[in-house]
Symmetry: C2
Subunit: 118 residues, 2 copies
DNA sequence: TAGATTATGTAGACTGTCTACAAGCACGGA
DNA sequence: TCCGTGCTTGTAGACAGTCTACATAATCTA
C-alpha cells in the first residue's frame, strides 16, 4: 500500500532549535526520539532530517543549552540522551517569545486590521 | 536624543518573499516603500535590510511572480515599481497557506493539548 | 544470513539574510 | 557654492542552518 505523502513543510531556519528545546522540556530524550516526537506532535507536518537533527543537537550542546549522556533506549539500543540545562531552560523561554513575536508580526502584515474610513 | 532600539526580530528564511507579495497585493509599490510598509505594519518588529530587500525583489522578478517598471515616487524620485503578476497572485496563496501550516505545526508542539488522564 | 529497525553521524550543496559599502539625485541651509 | 540629509537602488561577501546523500553499527526476526 502506497502511503499518501503528507504535505510536508520545510523548516524555517532557526526554528528547529526551539522545537528541540521544547521537546526536552518534557524530560530527557535521545535524538531519534526527539525527531519522532516532533513529527508526531505536528501531525506529520514537520519531518526532521538527520542531517538537520544531529548538527542541531551538537550545536545546542556546544552552547551549553543541553547536556548529553549515553544510555539505553526503550528498545535496548545505545542512545545519547539529552536533557535541558539550567541555561537551556532560560533560552527556551526567550526563544519561544522571539518566535511568538515573529509570528505575531507576520500576522499583522498578512491579516491587517481594516482601518475605519478606508 | 538616543532612540531606544525596538526589540527587533530576525527574519526567518523564506518569509520575506511572502511579506513582499502580500504587500504588493494592496497595489504596486517600489522597494523602499515595501520595506517601510513591512516595518510600520509590523509595529517596528520587522526591519527589512536593503541587502535582503533588493535580492528578494530581483529573485521574485526572475521567477515571474512580480514585474517592474520605472516611475516616479510620491516624492518625485525615480523608483522601480513592482506589481504582482497573475502567477504571483497564485503563489501568494500557496505561500501563505504554507506559512499558516508551519505556524500551526509550531503551535502544536509549543502548546500541546494536555491529554486526559495524564 | 539477509533484511528491517533503531540510532548516530558527516560532507557538501544550497538558500536566504545579514553587514558593510557604494552611488545618484534632489532639496534646503550655511 | 558646498554640504548634509533624505530617498532610492544596488552589490559583495560573510554567515547560518537546512537539505540530500552517504556511512556506520547493533539488534532482532524471517
Amino acid at each position: 500500500m502506497i502511503q499518501k505523502p503528507p504535505t510536508r513543510v520545510e523548516f524555517l531556519q532557526g526554528t528547529l532549535d526551539l522545537l528541540i528545546l521544547r521537546t526536552l522540556l518534557a524530560g530527557p530524550s535521545h535524538g531519534h526520539a526527539v525527531a519522532k516526537h516532533i513529527q508526531r506532535t505536528s501531525e506529520d507536518l514537520l519531518q526532521v532530517e538527520t542531517g538537520s537533527l544531529y548538527p542541531a543537537l551538537h550545536r545546542l550542546e556546544a552552547k551549553g543549552w543541553i547536556a548529553a549522556s549515553w544510555e539505553l533506549s526503550d528498545k535496548g539500543k545505545r542512545a545519547k540522551y539529552y536533557r535541558l540545562t539550567a541555561l537551556g531552560r532560560k533560552k527556551l523561554v526567550t526563544e519561544q517569545s522571539k518566535w511568538q513575536a515573529f509570528a505575531r508580526a507576520m500576522g499583522l502584515i498578512l491579516n491587517p486590521v481594516i482601518e475605519e474610513g478606508q
